[in-house]
């Protein structure tokens, strides 16, 4: 028997019961669509988060005060260790292959211009911000690289801050008050948007030494080190570590490289995608049960037909392939329809809602499609074996 005839007969049997075949296909279709949609969301969120983290550039190493094993700042031992100082930052600047060093402290303060005022984030930073964080200045210039002790009282505004305080007015050269101290606006940043909940546009940038006075702090919260793109992260990290140990006497700080951060994030996000794929697979399982049910019913209904085919000289293998073919067709058609549905929905959403974190995970799409065929085989195998094992006489008598 030819394989094209196997397929033709299987397809004919499926189309002979359009309603229930469509329902069965629908089960697989919904399952496949669910897997593709959910993994598209997972992949979209993954890429979104990674983009959020890399928007400040990738050749970045961050040093935090305090020794700890996980990411972030350790609060517990902060009093027993030496804070990271501006001198540390200056020393790091002299390191080989380091292109910019940005000491950072962050706080909240009231910002006033004339009668207008608002509470908002204040970032005390060094001159290297536009380069290290890849944030261009829209007008004026960024903070100059003054000596910490004699830093001029200049301020640079985030885009939103400019809009709120200087609607229709050129802010350059104007004087604002931050926590009671007076600063002169010398620049405005280009809009940057949100970063994990922080509105970087609703910010005032001050010289780090002035900000430390306002917030009454001894040390900085973080030092960001930008290194040459051709340098190796591990090498720079090692030099930073050696220098700071030499200055502090012990390793009372933590170094986080962008690579480490991305690696951890990426693996978390991949697990997330895998998790939603597993959730989607549950509906796929329901679809598989649908095929098993329909194939079992079909074999029972067509017992006489099986007996006839065997009497007319069909081999057991022919019967097996015939019913397996039906199950695989049901699964495959469901898979293709589900993929089409999911891709359609994704495209539609991308057109209708901009900025949605939705990214088609092609590896999951291919896996889902192959999986629909495998589901067809797995759900069809038991009923097909039962059909092939029928004795021709018993089957003939079934009418």
């Amino acid at each position: 028997m030819r394989s094209t005839d196997h397929l033709r007969l299987a397809a004919g049997a499926i189309t002979a019961h359009p309603a229930r075949s469509i329902l069965t296909v629908l089960g697989i279709m919904v399952g496949i669509a669910a897997v593709i949609l959910l993994t598209a969301i997972g992949e979209g969120v993954r890429l979104y988060v990674l983009a959020e983290f890399t928007q400040f550039g990738t050749n970045l190493i961050a040093v935090f005060p305090g020794r700890n094993t996980t990411l972030g700042i350790s609060g517990a031992t902060i009093s027993t260790i030496r804070p990271l100082s501006l001198d540390d930052a200056t020393a790091l600047e002299r390191l080989d292959q380091v292109t910019a060093v940005v000491p950072v402290i962050q706080g909240n303060a009231r910002i006033e211009y004339g009668k207008l005022g608002r509470r908002s984030m204040v970032l005390g930073v060094g001159a290297g911000v536009p380069e290290a964080w890849q944030m261009p200045v829209a007008s004026g210039s960024f903070l100059p690289g003054d000596n910490p002790g004699t830093a001029r009282t200049y301020a640079v505004l985030g885009d939103r801050m400019r809009k709120e305080l200087f609607a229709g007015v050129n802010p350059l050269g104007k004087r604002i008050r931050v926590g009671g101290d007076r600063f002169r606006v010398i620049g405005v940043m280009a809009p940057k948007g949100q970063m994990l909940g922080f509105d970087l546009d609703d910010t005032v940038y001050l010289p780090v030494s002035r900000a430390m006075e306002i917030f009454n702090r001894e040390g900085v919260m973080e030092i960001d080190i930008l290194y040459e793109s051709k340098a190796r992260a591990a090498y720079v990290e090692q030099r930073v570590r050696e220098l700071l140990i030499a200055r502090h006497g012990s390793e009372d700080f933590s170094i986080v490289t962008q690579d480490q951060m991305l690696e951890v994030l990426d693996s978390i996000m991949n697990i997330l995608t895998l998790g939603v794929a597993a959730i989607g697979s549950i509906s796929l399982l329901v679809g598989a049960v649908g095929i098993i049910t329909i194939m079992t019913i079909t074999v029972t209904e067509r017992t006489a037909e099986i007996g006839l085919l065997r009497a007319l000289g069909a081999r057991r293998r022919n019967i097996l392939l015939l019913f397996l073919g039906e199950a695989v067709l049901l699964g495959g058609v469901g898979g293709i329809a589900g993929t089409g549905l999911a891709l359609g929905i994704i495209l539609l959403l991308q057109i209708l809602v901009t900025g949605l974190p939705l990214e088609i995970a092609w590896n999951y799409v291919t896996t889902a499609l192959l999986f629909s065929l495998v589901i067809g085989i797995l759900s069809g195998i038991a009923p097909a074996i039962r059909a092939a094992a029928l004795h021709p006489l018993e089957a003939l008598r079934a009418e």
Binding site: M1, L309, A314
Partner: protein, 222 residues
């Protein structure tokens, strides 16, 4: 040449042995016209199924053209059925979702004949059985007589040496039954061995050789 040597077929039923066939010896030459008659439950169908290789004997030997086919594997027996035997059943056994032409085509499909050749042969068969304007009809759109003609066309499409018919008129009215018998006898005159099970003496008497079975044994053969 069909030869059954001491063929017995026993069924196990509720701990009891039931001998549906006992020590059947039967030789059937090519081109013969044989009727198998006997009361209901006497073992007629059981005997026909043995000849058809649809069932295996409990004991005994079956020689087909001198070759022992008794213990052949399933697939080999299936091939013999496909190439050497045609079946006509009481209940037609047509596949309901397939058209008349597609039903007739099945043995050719199972043999792997290519579709162009298949279409030609089916068209020829439909013509010779007077079914040419029924080719796209499904079985539920055909009369009983037409259904049995389709079944006979299917049974002969592979040009088998032997036609096996189990009560072929059992489900037809007298006039239609007569037409079906005429058709089968016409095929026999063309050289096909015809073995027909019936409990209707009027039909059975027509055969040139009449085998009577009682309680699983041949009681007369003439």
């Amino acid at each position: 040449m069909i030869s059954l040597r001491k063929i017995s077929r026993h069924y196990q039923q509720g701990g009891q042995q039931l001998a549906a066939l006992q020590d059947i010896d039967l030789e059937i030459g090519p081109g013969e016209y044989i009727s198998i008659m006997g009361p209901s439950g006497s073992g007629k169908s059981t005997l026909l199924n043995q000849i058809a290789l649809l069932d295996r004997p409990t004991s005994g030997t079956y020689l087909l053209h001198g070759r022992d086919v008794t213990g052949l594997p399933d697939d080999e027996q299936a091939r013999i059925r496909r190439e050497n035997m045609g079946f006509v059943f009481q209940f037609f056994h047509l596949i309901p979702r397939l058209s008349a032409a597609e039903n007739i085509e099945i043995p050719l499909v199972l043999s792997g004949v290519d579709s162009v050749l298949r279409k030609q042969q089916v068209a020829k068969a439909m013509l010779s059985f007077g079914l040419q304007d029924r080719s796209t009809h499904r079985p539920d759109q055909l009369s009983g007589g037409e259904c049995q003609r389709v079944a006979i066309a299917r049974a002969t499409i592979m040009h088998p040496g032997t036609l096996l018919a189990d009560e072929p008129t059992g489900n037809l009215d007298q006039a239609t039954g007569k037409q079906v018998i005429d058709l089968l006898e016409q095929l026999n005159r063309q050289g096909v061995t015809l073995i027909m099970v019936t409990h209707d003496p009027a039909i059975g008497e027509r055969a040139s050789r009449r085998v009577k079975i009682v309680d699983g044994r041949i009681s007369s053969d003439a």
